[in-house]
Symmetry: C2
């Protein structure tokens, strides 16, 4: 399988801490409900899972934001819960509600029954990856992704979203043996899943630890970070001779950046509570940083969006220029884009990132040594 | 108005960074739905507001947890939204749902109409404070409280709880002038409210910045912290010749501890994501720390609860002993207790705090210099 040559490599260069002429930008959930063309495709597909499991629909919606905006990466359109679904937990999405599992994992027997699923059950995802990569035709790189072992466990035990994580934490505090067993299975499943995405054509992979930040200090290291590390240790480093960068994003993980700086990955994703300059200090310059505009900034006026974009870029500090590796920043939101975002404001954001970050580089080059 | 002499002053001593024979403990929302006697009183009162606005009921439920557990402080039973209710926003609690405002503040006219409410409208709260203080009869000190200006603004704009704070952040990013005006009014109202609680008999006051942690770095300092500081600057330092300690708790505020260490208050409350030892390092030893067990630990087995209590106490490090001021810790949860908590596990927690913290002191005294 050969794919077209990559035209815009700014995202991958920034992942690898190489200089770029501007700061690359993509947005978490960039293919989503805020786009009228997405809502139209979803209506045709009939349901969210109808959209996510159909290769043609998944390809179509993944490319939609790229038709509108000069984004520097595409991300596979899928759901973070495909893996537990393949484990047989029965994923569904009721209209206007979040995900739900028919068979949550709440006792010793249910945990004992868990196993790394046959990856053939997730073939629809890998087929979508290949289809999207072909359709991209080298425009920008394609990011594959998965939920983290802990984040999957939250949904698997709770059976749905939660505001207190009572059930999953009850298992964690009262039966840590069961929780560790579930996280082991999840980690090995996530690693197999991401490796199969890499083989299908993903040019970078991202682990979403969306619920790591709900854990107590101590519990986070033991039940989230350790299993993210277990995933990373099993990931393919390259495919077809090309290095595959790995991104880890823990929402609410700002207090553990020093620890996260030791993960075997290239990029750390950050939410909006973190100051990028402080993060560089804690993480060290051996990792690229991705983030971290508050998605709600997209509800402000264009000039205000431009100001906030500039503030985030400036908070990172001087971008790396010239030869070799150095500190690099990939612009993103600090969390997924809201379904209520005005699409025209996303244009403002993307253009502001490109133009302000070019100006930053020009001013830096012009500055006296 | 004179009250009985205080018998158990460990909480107030710890607030003032004075040594205590053990680590004092109280729990956020300790008078609440997890207690069957609370549910019984609430059923008699007919509604949550019926409970909160009736002096006798409020007194009764405030004292209920003290009958069961050897807690070291009582906290006024009330709601954080009494102040915006007094501003005329129309607070209500639908059964099984969170608070709701009939008239949320969403435009320039609504913001312009806001004013510090006549404190007479909140007389029921101050009467409850006096009644509770009398009923306590000196057993333990009484803590008064309020929501922070930012946290009140979240509810005032959203009209209810929110999972993305879209409306309040839209106002903040697009009309910062309106947001600043609302926060000014809120800060002055909160200061008047807390001062009146102090005059009515509150022996310490706490500001709950429950939603400070949803703000971006930069926005937190400007829209939450600055107005908490504005409240603190207006608070009475003493009443009847006794110093009144002030506690500030920002849920999710762990990344801003250094800044919060500069607040003019005696105690910082911390959620469970923060390591107490690290917090001491960032805050400095000029403030007492309060917290920070994950409330979900109360769903574990007794021996596991004891272990987690010990871990939190040990994470703070050696408690201050002897003369003068030094680092002190007030044990608490990192957030309000869950309504599903088994009441017998709260006994385990309180006893574990007292016994383990006495042991810590004994071992420290016995240790060779």
């Amino acid at each position: 399988m050969t794919f077209a040559k990559l035209e815009n490599d700014t995202f991958l260069r920034a992942c690898n801490r190489l200089a770029t002429p501007y700061t690359p930008v993509w947005l978490m959930r960039q293919a989503g409900r805020y786009l009228p063309e997405y809502r139209e495709t979803r209506a045709r597909a009939g349901s969210f899972m109808g959209l996510a499991t159909n290769v043609d629909y998944a390809t179509e919606v993944t490319l939609q934001p790229l038709e509108r905006y000069p984004l520097d990466a595409a991300i596979l359109f899928s759901d973070i819960l495909t893996v537990p679904d393949a484990m047989g937990l029965g994923l569904s999405f009721a209209l206007g509600e979040g995900p739900k599992f028919a068979s949550p994992v709440r006792d010793e027997a249910a945990v004992a029954a868990l196993a790394v699923p046959d990856m053939e059950k997730l073939r629809y995802v890998f087929n979508a990856v290949t289809s999207i990569r072909k359709a991209l035709n080298g425009r920008v790189p394609l990011i594959g992704f998965s939920g983290s072992p802990w984040t999957l466990a939250c949904y698997m035990v709770e059976g749905a979203g939660s505001d207190d994580y009572r059930l999953v934490k009850t298992m964690m505090y009262s039966r840590p043996d069961l929780m560790h067993r579930m996280l082991e299975v999840n980690a090995d499943a996530v690693a197999a899943y991401l490796n199969a995405q890499i083989e299908a054509g993903a040019q970078a992979v991202m682990i979403f630890d969306s619920w790591g930040g709900v854990l107590a200090d101590g519990a986070f290291q033991q039940f989230s970070l350790a299993y993210t590390a277990r995933v990373l240790s099993q990931l393919k480093r390259e495919h077809d001779g090309v290095f595959i960068p790995r991104i880890v994003f823990t929402k609410g993980g700002g207090l553990w950046l020093k620890k996260m700086g030791q993960l075997d990955c290239e990029v750390l994703g950050l939410d909006w509570t973190v100051n990028l300059g402080h993060a560089r200090h804690f993480v060290g310059d051996h990792k690229a940083l991705q983030g971290n505009l508050d998605p709600n900034v997209l509800f402000a006026q264009p000039n205000q969006i431009e100001d906030e974009v500039a503030r985030v870029l400036e908070s990172f500090g001087a971008p790396h220029q010239g030869e070799g590796t150095g500190p690099t920043h990939i612009f993103n939101l600090g969390h997924g884009i809201s379904q209520h975002s005005p699409p025209e404001n996303v244009s403002v954001l993307v253009n502001a990132v490109h133009s302000h970050s070019r100006r930053q580089r020009a001013m830096q080059s012009a500055a006296p040594e």
